[in-house]
Each structure stands twice: as structure tokens, then as C-alpha cells.
Amino acid sequence: MFTTPRLILIALGAALNCAIGTVVYLLKLPVFLDSIGTILVALLLAPDRLAAFLCSWAAGWIGLALSGLINPFLPWFAMTDVAISLVAALLCVGAAKTFRNGLVETPPFIGQVLLCGIVLGVVSAVISVPVVVYLFGGVTGSGSALVVAVFLKSGQHLMSAAMLSGLASDPPDKILQVLFAALLYRATPGEFIAMLRAREPEPSR
């Protein structure tokens, strides 16, 4: 299961999750893009769904643990990463062929990106909301906090306001992440994917 190339892939996925935070900061983007590595790891291990789940989960958690040194609030969303890995392995892996070979501007490609992104967005919103409510009182430092404030002002309770805000802001972010992961998957050399599928050779010292 965990051959050396797959361990490297886990490390790459975790490093990508951490590094994209730098890209978002440099380009001042109003999105998170913090799970592209997790989704990409699952896609690269298609069609082996079990390996895709376990490796993307490992990549997500290692990324969270290391990012936690810079942003100490990220590790609290560990369960969200498990859910993202699960959805990526069950749903996104099914779309791997379209993402790899299909034309980008065709309905199947766009449809799969939208479907995977919306499902990922809804699932991650549902899992994240209790953490957001308990740890941050429903208001994190992101722009979606203003949506929470609007819902609270309209008389919604905290949990439902945070849930509605999450459901409004997470799907667009996750659609973008699935699109980026699919584009990176298309660009990944076949040689690397072949290494991931090969069995581990006997170690020679």
C-alpha cells in the first residue's frame, strides 16, 4: 500500500497544501484553496479508491499538522480533511478518466468539476460548522464572517447562521479546488503516475 513513490506523493500533497497558502497570500486571493493537494493525491491514485482515501487522508493531516505551526487554527479542521479525503476517493476518483483525458471546455469535464466541487463544499461545510461555532464563535477571519453577521442580524441562531454561511461560501471554493486539482492531474507526467502504480522493488543496499 505505502510504497516509496506513494509516500513521496503523500509528502508532495501535504507540501502542496502548505505551499498553496503562500500562493493565496502572494496573490491576495479571496479563497482558501487549502485542500488541492489532498484532492490531487486521490486523483493520482485512481482507480484504487482505498489507496486514494488513505494517502489523501495522510497528506491532509500531515499538511494540517505542519500548517498548524503557522496557523494554529487549521488542525482543528482535521475531521473536515477526513471527509474531503473520503469524498475525493469515492467521487472524484470516479471522474479521474474525464479529468485526465477529456477536453477541459466540454460538458462532461465541467459537469464533473461542478458535481465534485459542490458535494465537497457541502460536506466540508457541514463538518466544519461545529468547529467554527465552538472555537471561533461562528466568526473566523475570512470574509464569510460577514455573511454570518448578516444571517445573525436577520434573527438566525448562531449554528444555523454559520451553516448557511458555510453552505454559501464553501462550494465555490471547493469547485475551484477540484478544477485546480484536475488541471494539475492533467499536467502530471505519466512517468510519475506509473511509479505510483508499480509495486515496491526489493530494497538494495
Binding site: 496573490l27 466568526v139 453577521a149 448562531l158
Partner: protein, 246 residues
Amino acid sequence: MTPNGAFTLGAILIALGMGVPGPRGVAVLVVLTLAFAAIEVRGASVIALKRAAMVVLPLAGFMVVVWVGIVGESPAQIAADSAGTRAAALAYVATLCGRLFFIVAVIQLVFLRFAKLTPLQVIRALALPTTLKRVLVITLSLIGTLRHAIDRAHIALIAAGTLTRSPSWRNMIHSWRLIQAVWLSAITIMVGRMRDKWPVEHTIARLDDMLDDAGPAWFSGDDRIWLPLTLGAAVVILVADRIGAV
């Protein structure tokens, strides 16, 4: 104190902080944390507090704007459909930010305890499976590689007029080009290493030997004082306010 002991102690302190004990429990928790800071981290504790303030203050400011400025009442008042006050909203924000500050400060204290060690030495000392330690070391190395790749690609794309330094629509539209350049750079480097460099230099085997060599015990030295003390204090923290209530 070992990294295992410090991380375990940090996890217990954060769990207790999240348990939101009453005022007596909070007092014991703060005293215990300050004792850890003074004895184990010493002068670097000031750095931990500064870093925690730098992380929490902007968030606190944003929360004040949202809760006190826009919403103007606390969640409890909203839930009870009672008249809201900005003072209650401010108290709510203060409680939340106090807890967040504590969490960040504890994490910083734990890591600053080993500030003199390199990340490799800290990972080596952890009582984790070698495979996991190997992945952690490679990940840390890759993060450095990716950061350099980001810097190079970012500057190149700005020079080419594809991206801008300030926020812009162009950045939104072309951000994927930067991410793709970074990913391709990382993949090319890793394929080269796995196919050509590592097998010749036996890198993975050497790394495993180095990580395995330490054979660290889970807890040793001062861990045997700090952990029983913390667990004892945890019992006091959890029951202190209940006794007061009875």
C-alpha cells in the same frame, strides 16, 4: 524534557483550555502553563506571547467589528430572543479570544522549548513509526523546495505581465498558472530524485537508519515530573469549580 512529553503536555493543556472550566479552573490552568513557560521555556516565553498576540489580535479586531459593531448582541441573547447588548457581545468576543490566545500561546511554548534543535532533530526524537517520520522529513524538505519554486515562478509570471503584485482580476484568472508551474517543478524534481539520485545514493535507506538510530523512549527525564503533575492539575481544574458550586 522530550518532544513527546512536551507535545503530550501541550495537548492536555489545550484540551483543558477547550473544556472551559470556571474561574478557579482557569486560574489553576494559567498557573500551570506559566510554570511550564518559566521553567522549561524561560526567556523565549515572551516570544511565544508576542506571536500569540500577533495571531489573535487581528482576529479579535475582526470579531469586535462583526459581533459588537454589526450584530450587537451575544449568541446567548439571540438564542433567548432577549434584548441584545453590545457589552454582552464584547464579553463573548473577549472569552473566545482569550481561549484562542491560550491555545496559540501553548503551541508556541511547546515548539519554542525545542528552538535550539533543528526540525530534523525534533522529528528524530519523536516516538513515531519510522515511515511517518520519513514522510515528515520529506514533506518539510519539499515545502522548502516548493517555496523556492513559488518565488521563482511568481517573479517570472509578474515579469511576463501575467500576474500583478497587488490584488487584481488578472491574479484571480491566472493563479492556476502559478500553481501549475510550481507543481510541475516539484514533480520534475521528485521524479528525478526517485529515478536517478536516491537509488545511487541510497538516500531513503540512510534516512531510515538515521531516523531509527535514536530509538527514542516515549517519555523520559523531566517528562516523568511534568506529566503526572499536569494530570493531577487536570483533575483539580475539572473539579475546582464544581466543588465551589456545591
